[in-house]
């Protein structure tokens, strides 16, 4: 299960809407071992593509080092799909390399409806999980 504040959920959706029609991506860091997403970090999509995303390699180094310095880990890794459902694609599954993270997918294919779903992706297996949005 992913427990996330409404504020953070809204930030993810807003980022996805802002970058549409390109895919948006980012991380929410939290204290190591806590499973609490706390610190929102939007990332550049180095692919700038409507169908693919990739963290810029040097930005990723900076962010990962910063998390390490702060004793944090990537609790949520999010990205958006701009024309398909908010479900992990084959490429999403094959590149998922943080077994402890919640992979959040947002779809911006429908202007009126928000699709926000979360998954664990471990050893190539996708498991959808419940999302609990807390007030703060």
């Amino acid at each position: 299960m992913l427990t996330i504040s409404a504020e953070l959920r809204d930030k993810i959706v807003a980022h996805a809407r802002a970058d549409h029609p390109d895919e948006a991506c980012g991380v929410i860091a939290g204290p190591a071992g806590s499973d609490r997403p706390e610190r929102f970090i939007s990332m550049l999509n180095a692919e700038r593509s409507p169908t693919f995303y990739r963290f810029d390699s040097l930005e990723q180094l900076r962010v990962w080092r910063e998390m390490d310095d702060r004793d944090e880990e990537p609790v949520v890794i999010y990205h958006s799909h701009t024309a398909t459902e908010a479900y992990p694609s084959r490429t999403d599954i094959s590149y998922a390399s943080e077994p402890g993270a919640h992979y959040v997918l947002v779809s911006t294919r429908d202007e009126a409806a928000d699709e926000f779903r979360s998954y664990r992706i471990i050893d190539g297996v996708v498991t959808e999980e419940e999302v609990t949005v807390s007030a703060r």
Partner: protein, 92 residues
């Protein structure tokens, strides 16, 4: 000679859980071969038959090695190599 190599979570199965290992070599290529002698299978996760694997980021200190010679990049005592799997994916 000691070069620190920082290992991401997903590759720590090759290092007995250690997040940092040491090795030696004059180039990144030699360093990875040296590591593989003690952590069998690790090199194969980093290198394919063409060179460095595309969706693995390898950094020499603060630089992405793709821009400074890839596997041929010279490494020196006191350098730190960081390995991070690329974070990527997409709708297709």
């Amino acid at each position: 000679m000691a070069i620190e190599v920082r290992i991401p979570t997903i590759l720590r199965t090759y290092t007995g859980g250690e997040k940092s290992v040491e090795g030696s070599g004059a180039t990144l290529d030699e360093l990875f071969s040296d590591l593989d002698a003690r952590h069998g299978g690790l090199r194969d996760r980093l290198v394919d038959d063409v060179g460095l694997r595309r969706f693995v980021n390898v950094y020499l200190n603060d630089e992405d090695v793709r821009f400074i010679g890839g596997l041929g990049a010279p490494v020196h005592d006191g350098d730190t190599i960081t390995v991070l799997p690329a974070v990527a994916g997409g709708g297709r």
